[in-house]
Symmetry: C2
Subunit: 352 residues, 2 copies
C-alpha cells in the first residue's frame, strides 16, 4: 500500500486530531489571493473578489470507488482532488480552494495518510488550488475521502447544464473510454496477482489507459481555450459516468434531445485495441465507461467555424427536439440506438 | 435503527445514484437569496453578496462519533448539521448553505437515509440554511456523514481565534458538561440493554443532558445578541472538544495564557448531580467532556459592564501573558491546575 515498504510505521493515535492535521498540512502553501484564512481556525475564510462561489463535494469510498490492491495512495489523493476540480471546470469556473475530510481505520498508519496528502499536495500545485480546510478521523473500517472544492467566476461566465438549444452542436474534449479500459487491465492483472502472487503483472504497452484511470486530469485548461476562441458553451457537464449518462443529464435539464454519431466519438487507438483484446465493444466503453473527466458541452451552430479544427475539441452530434429522444447513430448503418443511463454507478458497481 | 420498524425496506440499489439524491432532497426548499444554483448541476453556485465566504467541513463516522445502538438516525442527521453550523457561528458568520456527503453500507435501506435527511431538513429549517450539494454512495461497511457548511459575513465582523489580548475576559455561553453526561447515561443504559434486552432503559429525569447529547444546538443566536450589546469578541471558538482543549487553542493562536475560575464555570444542576451519581468530577466533564457546542470567546475588559448581567453569558476567566501558561484556579483553595488538551478526540475515543 505504501510506496516505501521499509518505513517504521506510526499509528494515527500517536498524534491527536489537531496534531495530525497540522502535521499533514504544514507544507502546503497558498497561491490564491482569495484565500484569507485556512486550516487552523474554526472555518476557512474566502474572499470571492466580486465573483460567484461555485461549490461541489464528492465522496470516495474504499471498495466502491477504489481498490488499494492496485491504486497507490498518492494517486488516490491526486484523483480525489481531480474529480472535484472537474466539477468546477464543468461550471466554467476557476477552482481556487479545497477542503479535505478523511476517515481511516487503524489499518492505516500516519505514513499512509502522508502518501494521500502528498497526492493532494501535488494536485494543489498542479491546479493552483489552496487546501483551506481539513478533518481527519478514525473509522471502524476502510478509507473514505471526501473533498469539497470551491471555484470562483463572474455570473456571466458560469455555464450550467440547462442552456442547450435545438440545433446546438454537442462537443467533447479529449478522448473517451480510456479510463474504463485502464480499470479493466488493472483488475485483470490484480486477479492474476491474487491467484498467484509470484506472477509479474503485464502492464507494458498499456501506459496511456492506465494513466487515464490512475492519474486522470481535470480539464481546467478548457476554460481558457474557449475564451481564446470567443466561445461560451450553452450548457456543460463533466464526463464522470460515461458519455451516455452525461448526455442524458444535459437533455433532462436543457429540455432537448441529442443525436451522437458513433463515428465521431473520439477514442484513442490503445483504448480501441484493448477493448477488442478483451472482447468489449469500444463505443460501449466510451458511452458507459466513465471516469474520463473530459468535458461535454453544447455550442451555438454559429460557433462551428471557430472550433472545427481545434485539436482539443470534437463535435460529436447535435441537439434535437426533446420529443425526438436521445440516440446514438450507428457507424455505417445509421441505425438509431437509444442512449441509456447505465453509466458508472457507485450502487451498481459495488465492490469494484 | 428506524423509528417505524414495520416499513417495507427498500435497498439503496433500487435507486441509481442520481435518482437517490433527487428522491432524498426533493422536498428541500430555499430560503437564502445567496443560493443561486443548488443540487442538480455539476456544482452549486452561491452569490456572496459582497461578503466573505466562511467554509468548514466535519466528518462523522459510525462507531467513532456515534453509536446507532442509541442514536436515532433523524437526530444524527440533525446533529451532523449542527456541528458544522457551530463552526460557522464561531467565526461570527451567518450560516447559509450546506453540502452533504453520505457513504452507507448495504445494511442501510433507503428508509434509513430518509430518516437522516429528515433530520438534516429539520436543521436546515431551524437554522435557515439551504442544502445545495450532495453526494451519496455505498460503502463496504458502516455509515459516514460529511457535511460542509458555508457562512457569509463582512470582513469587519468575522472573529478568528487569534485576537485575544492580555486582560481580555474569557466568556462562555450556556452551560458545559451536559452533553458528556448525556453520553454517559446513554452508554450505561445501552450496556444494560446489551446484557439483557428485556430491561427497560432508565432515562427518566435525564432529559436535559440527553437532549444536550442527542440534539445539540449551534449558538447561531449569539451573533445577534452580541451585536445588540455592541460587543465584538476579540477571539472566538466553539466548544466541541471540551473547555480545556478550546482554551488552549485560543491561547496558542492568540499568544496569551488564560486563568479559568472553577467556581465560575457554568454547569446545569442535572449535569453536576449526574456526574456525582457516576463518581465523576463535574468540572472535569466541563473541561474535557466536549460536544456542548457552546461558544467560548474573549472580550475587551471595557465591555464587561455590557455583558455582566446577560443570561446567555458567563465570564469565567481572563487572559494573562503567554509565559504564565493556562490554568484552572480551583474552587476554595485557589490551587492552579494545568489545563491539558485531553478533550474529546476521535483517535483516542475510538469505538465510543
Amino acid at each position: 500500500m505504501l510506496e516505501d515498504k521499509n518505513l517504521d510505521l506510526t499509528p494515527i493515535s500517536a498524534y491527536g486530531e489537531f496534531g495530525l492535521i497540522k502535521h499533514l498540512t504544514e507544507n502546503f502553501s497558498f497561491k490564491n489571493t482569495s484565500t484569507e484564512i485556512s486550516i487552523g481556525d474554526d472555518a476557512a475564510v474566502i474572499n470571492p473578489e466580486n465573483q460567484k462561489v461555485v461549490l461541489t463535494t464528492d465522496i470516495l469510498a474504499e471498495g466502491v470507488h477504489f481498490n488499494l490492491g492496485y491504486v497507490p495512495l498518492k494517486h488516490l489523493g491526486y484523483k480525489a482532488v481531480v474529480v472535484n476540480l472537474s466539477d468546477i471546470a464543468a461550471m466554467n469556473a476557476k477552482p481556487t480552494q479545497i477542503l479535505v475530510a478523511i476517515a481511516a481505520s487503524n489499518r492505516f498508519p500516519v505514513e499512509a495518510l502522508e502518501e494521500i496528502y502528498a497526492g493532494i499536495s501535488l494536485a494543489c500545485k498542479h491546479y493552483n488550488v489552496d487546501l483551506v480546510g481539513g478533518d481527519t478521523t478514525s473509522s471502524t473500517s476502510g478509507l473514505i475521502i471526501n473533498i469539497t472544492a470551491v471555484g470562483l467566476e463572474v455570473s456571466e461566465k458560469i455555464v450550467t447544464r440547462s442552456g442547450a438549444k435545438v440545433n446546438d452542436l454537442l462537443v467533447v474534449t479529449g478522448d473517451l473510454g480510456g479510463a474504463y479500459m485502464g480499470l479493466q487491465i488493472l483488475e485483470r492483472e490484480h486477479s492474476v496477482f491474487l491467484a498467484n502472487p509470484n506472477m509479474q503483472p503485464e502492464m507494458e504497452g498499456y501506459d496511456y489507459i492506465l494513466e487515464r484511470q490512475l492519474k486522470p486530469e481535470a480539464r481546467t485548461d478548457i476554460k481558457k481555450n474557449l475564451e481564446e476562441l470567443d466561445i461560451k458553451p450553452t450548457s456543460m457537464i463533466d464526463i464522470s459516468d460515461g458519455l451516455s449518462s452525461e448526455t442524458l443529464h444535459l437533455s433532462d435539464q436543457s429540455k432537448v434531445g441529442f443525436r451522437i454519431y458513433e463515428e465521431k466519438v473520439p477514442m484513442d487507438s490503445l483504448t480501441i485495441s484493448t477493448a477488442e483484446e478483451l472482447n468489449l465493444n469500444p463505443i460501449m466503453c466510451a458511452l458507459s465507461g466513465g471516469e474520463d473527466y473530459e468535458l461535454l458541452f453544447t455550442i451555438s451552430p454559429n460557433d462551428f467555424e471557430k472550433i472545427k479544427n481545434h485539436p482539443d475539441f470534437t463535435v460529436i452530434g447535435h441537439a434535437v427536439d426533446l420529443d425526438q429522444g436521445n440516440f446514438l447513430v450507428a457507424r455505417g448503418s445509421n441505425e438509431l440506438i437509444a442512449l441509456n443511463a447505465q453509466g458508472w454507478d457507485a450502487f451498481l458497481n459495488r465492490g469494484k
